[in-house]
Amino acid sequence: MCITISNKNLAHRALGLLGLRASYVMRLIFWLTGLCTVLMGCQKAEPDAQPEEQIFQKPANFPEPVYALDRNRPTAAGMRLGRALFFDATLSRDGSIACAECHNQAYAFTHHQHDVSHGIDNQVGTRNSMPIQNMAWQSTFFWDGGVHDLDLVPIVPIENPVEMDEKSTNVINKLRKSAKYPAMFKDAFGTDEINGPRFLQALSQFMLTLVSGNSRYDKWVRKEPGGTLTDDEQTGLTLFRAKCSGCHAGELFTDNSFRSNGLSISPVNDLGRAQVTERREDRYKFKVPSLRNVEKTLPYMHDGRFYSIEAVLNHYAENVQFTETLDTLLQKNGKLGVEMTAAEKRQIIAFLKTLTDDQFLRDTRFVEP
């Protein structure tokens, strides 16, 4: 119990009656005040003072995350639950497809060698599945940015008829009836109640932990052991900064914008961002993807039309098509595309490969439980 004595005179008199000298009294007051502060401080700090290992860590060279971590900070139990859900085909209508089907760790959680992803009943969609990495730094999701909150992302593939074709309501019901999940929800959220928000938050917790920030490039930037770049790679980085970083900006290698990069318009006629905004000026614009682990995330572009990084650079160097929404950075000085010699392309690719983060691609924390 801490008693604050506001009126010093009153206190002096009161203690004087008890025959105590003022100097002692003052000392006593200071001492008590100090004790109170210490006690209060301890009390206050207690709830936070469970130094559970930091499940989510921001690499030193990354900007502040966009995701509201205060709302749903990953914990060990939450991450375990999210991981179990991520690998569980129960999330699909017939129990055949898990998230991990199209988001494979070895390929930075994308669908390796599939231009567009294969879902339930061997149906195919129209877009290339995006890598799941560094989600805390993304402000919008999917190639058209139709989803503005990571927590709302999982409903999309679950309910898409050509992906998992299940109703999220059914997923929640199935989880409630399962043997293992009630206990896992209790570990993660305090009670064994299974509901939509918790389900979505658990998946977010797992996805948030998928941070790739330990590539050779990162180590070079942070001047850490193993952070060496060859001459070609360094030249490649200089070229990249001059020719590519207008869109693939910053440490995430994307400015999170939507741009039309001059791809020839395929018969699918995917309008991209305009499907969401319904604005003419957004036609054929797609999210500028991060280039982290780009060596492993083939094929490339929203429809997976390029099977190699070389093909991508050849597109920018030689095949950019004019469309009404073509990005201005791709039509400088009256020329379409980005000028690159064969040697420059090779050096840029050499640099891009330094963004491969083997530690992330092999991290056992992300493996199927």
């Binding site: 109703k167 929640i172 928000p197 499907q275 969401v276 319904e278």
Partner: protein, 276 residues
């Protein structure tokens, strides 16, 4: 004499009682704003001058197209009641999903309404932009995007709620569009602009209806406002919509004429002010 005095006493008694009655009446008219009661709003869905029955009941729109309905759902939110003094009583953070298949959902109860004579009611059809971008933990009950089962009220690929949906069948729907000639008109679009992203079409509409019979909330009166909701107006409002062309609406821009139409479909039929 005796008869005369009896008459006099009788008359006196009559006057006295009349005075008492009138006194009591004046007492009643004093509105004590500290007392509260609930107001119930009933949404009675109809099709023109017919009862709305889901299934095969045939209806006809102004374009002469015969149709039947299989679903009519809409969100009601941001309800407010305007007092005769001009004071507006708001009911924030209360969201209701009216479904034709669920009789209970058609009765909305507003709790703790201060006593007063209310002359106007406003409400929004849809889920306001603030709630549309709120964290999942704040989307409970009818706003839980994982709660709709087969009766979806949420666009997952373009995050946002479906404010109103009407579905059914019509011979006017070309078989090339839908082999079973089903139509599905889903209206959403809260305006976008979240996380600095582009603005999208805003189809949130606020409806204001006068309460010609005042809703007189008292400690012992919980009024019931009975609304007629004419689904035919969805096709035959300010915009004449034909099912031959408007039969598959699943994004905000094309849904705007529909929202403009349903804005006109609500009217107060009567208000009950029964004493409890």
């Amino acid at each position: 004499m005796i008869t005369n005095s009896v008459v006099r006493i009788f008359l006196l008694a009559l006057v006295t009682s009349a005075t008492f009655v009138s006194c009591k009446k004046t007492e009643e008219d004093v509105i004590d704003p500290d007392t509260k009661n609930s107001v119930t709003v009933e949404f009675e869905n109809r099709v023109g001058d017919q009862k709305l029955i889901l299934g095969t009941t045939p209806y006809k729109n102004a374009s002469g197209e015969s149709f039947s309905l299989t679903a009519l759902n809409y969100f009601v939110s941001n309800i407010s009641l305007k007092n005769e003094n001009g004071t507006v009583q708001k009911f924030p953070n209360q969201y209701f999903l009216v479904k034709q298949t669920d009789a209970k959902s058609k009765l909305i109860t507003l709790k703790d309404v201060p006593s007063g004579n209310y002359t106007e009611m406003s409400f929004m059809i849809g889920v306001d932009s603030l709630k549309s971008v709120s964290p999942v933990t704040e989307r409970t009950g009818v706003l839980d995007p994982t709660s709709y089962g087969d009766d979806g009220m949420y666009w997952s690929w373009n995050s946002g709620y479906i404010f109103l949906k009407i579905e059914g069948t019509s011979v006017a729907v070309p078989k090339t569009v839908n082999a079973n000639q089903n139509f599905a008109i889903h209206v959403g679009g809260y305006g976008g602009g979240w996380n600095g992203s582009a603005k999208t079409v805003n189809n949130l509409r606020t409806i204001t209806v006068p309460l010609t019979t005042k809703a007189t909330v008292r400690a012992n009166i919980a009024p019931e406002v009975h609304l007629f909701v004419d689904a035919l107006k969805i096709f035959d409002g300010p915009n004449k919509l034909s099912l031959a062309t408007t039969n598959s609406v699943h994004s905000p821009a094309v849904a705007t004429p529909v929202a403009e139409n349903y804005k006109t479909m609500f009217q107060v039929d009567h208000v009950h002010n029964n004493k409890q």
